[in-house]
Amino acid sequence: MNADLAALLYLVSGVLFILALRGLSSPETSRQGNNFGMLGMAIAIATTLWLVSPDTTTLMIIVGAVVIGGGIGALIARSIKMTAMPQLVAAFHSLVGLAAVAVAAAAFYAPESFHIATADGGIKMSSLIELALGTAIGAITFTGSVIAFAKLNGNMSGAPIMLPARHLINIAIAVAIVALVVMTIQDGGRTAWHFWAIAGLSLLIGVLLIIPIGGADMPVVVSMLNSYSGWAAAALGFTLENVALIITGALVGSSGAILSYIMCKAMNRSFISVILGGFGAADGATAAATGIQRSYKAGSADDAAFIMKNASKVIIVPGYGMASAQAQHSVREMADMLKKEGVDVKYAIHPVAGRMPGHMNVLLAEANVPYDEVFELEDINNEFSQCDVAYVIGANDVTNPLAKTDPQSPIFGMPILDVEKAKTVLFVKRSMGGVGYAGVDNELFYRDNTMMLLGDAKKMTDEIVKGL
């Protein structure tokens, strides 16, 4: 009876997690969705506590761990800057990975508690396989996410680190891990070093897999690791025979995979080429150097203010530069001023603007921009031809017409925002030399209807606000 009820409750919590993701289909339902998620988690935890009926020592361990961990988590959640979300997500993933390894270790050492012991003191074969899978994926998620965090947070250079013969090394390690899994199965999971060797080698492979990938590709990596952490959870769910864990693992696994796919698709790159690495800051410099002599029209903040004040329709195109300059609040202010002047203001967001999916949306939301003024690429792209000014702030690749015309270009085939169709394009960036993520020059800078506004995104926008 207890087991039945518990299984039912875990099912309920799995369903609540589904509803949590479902809520995200629109901003209105999203907050309720998040509450469903919290409720689901509470039910899963309460059910487990009821099932294991912990003694005092155990309770102290658990309460201590949850209070400390929860406190840290809450603190981080409150204080983190919105611009640091990519790092934060990477950091959180690393913790899930490590937790999965720790749980697998515990199951390995105390199989009776997990009901996976055989009569002769060993561990069931199927459970060993699941544990090994959970450990390996968890460990890769852990170190991989740590590297991704360090690259995103700037603790480590974004440049790809290409070891010689790295593919060979990786394959050798993978073979060693498989051999160890076979060994531990033959031995019924009685030898501790097998487990630790699997964990250790997986930690190593996590590092090796991620260091050759350029810093700018980290968002895809983070999403991929998210997916991995889901599959690790599902593997452990089979061992623990826990419906909530299995459902969640499948949800998270799909979510990460789909987000990676969306990003690769929107960048027109293959997932394989991202994973093989080597794409990064290096080639950028050379490509940029070529365009430096061409003539362009520079303008001042006052010029920009004047042009926009007299426009009837302005579309703002934010990109990574807005995030890194934290200019979102200034942009909102500028838009408010323009709206007071009777100008129609909208925002256009490219699916991979910024450095993670939805990055620009969350920043604009932070600056109190109503989400019904913010449009996706497909919904606004044909409005550029009817607008007077496209205000491109810190976006670059996502507006680059080369993507349509130059099959040699690394961004060829990527759908772009047609800002060039606007009567005037105002382009905010710090210098003519700086390039975007893909490291290619942008033909738009040199067009007649483009005016470059060189300077920091935030400072420039603040000055425009003064000018208005």
Binding site: R22, S30, I61, L95, N226, P351, N361, P370
Partner: protein
């Protein structure tokens, strides 16, 4: 009697279908909160941590399991609180235009 493994597999397979559809229906504007919330819910691995922490201390290696469980519970708790709260914070920012 059918081996429960088959049932878990069925649940897993169906959940992948659900995951596929539910994630595709997420609006791109909320992809960042999606990443944060999947993070939070994947910490349901804490159920494993609680079981580990409740391992019998008197058996061989019992304390290792308890320790690993406590560690995992702590890590998962960081994620649960951090993940859900940061998602909540983000979602609270998405507002419609006020009617004037």
């Amino acid at each position: 009697m059918v081996d429960p493994f088959v049932f878990y597999l069925a649940i897993f397979v169906l959940a992948i279908f659900v995951g596929y559809y539910v994630v595709w229906s997420v609006t791109p504007a909320l992809h960042t909160p999606l990443m944060a919330v999947t993070n939070a819910i994947s910490s349901v691995i804490i159920v494993g941590a609680l079981i580990a922490a409740a391992a019998n201390a008197n058996v061989e290696n019992g304390w290792i399991a308890k320790g690993a469980g406590g560690l995992a519970a702590g890590l998962a708790a960081v994620n649960i609180f951090g993940g859900f709260l940061v998602t909540q914070r983000m979602l609270a920012m998405y507002k419609k235009k006020e009617k004037k």
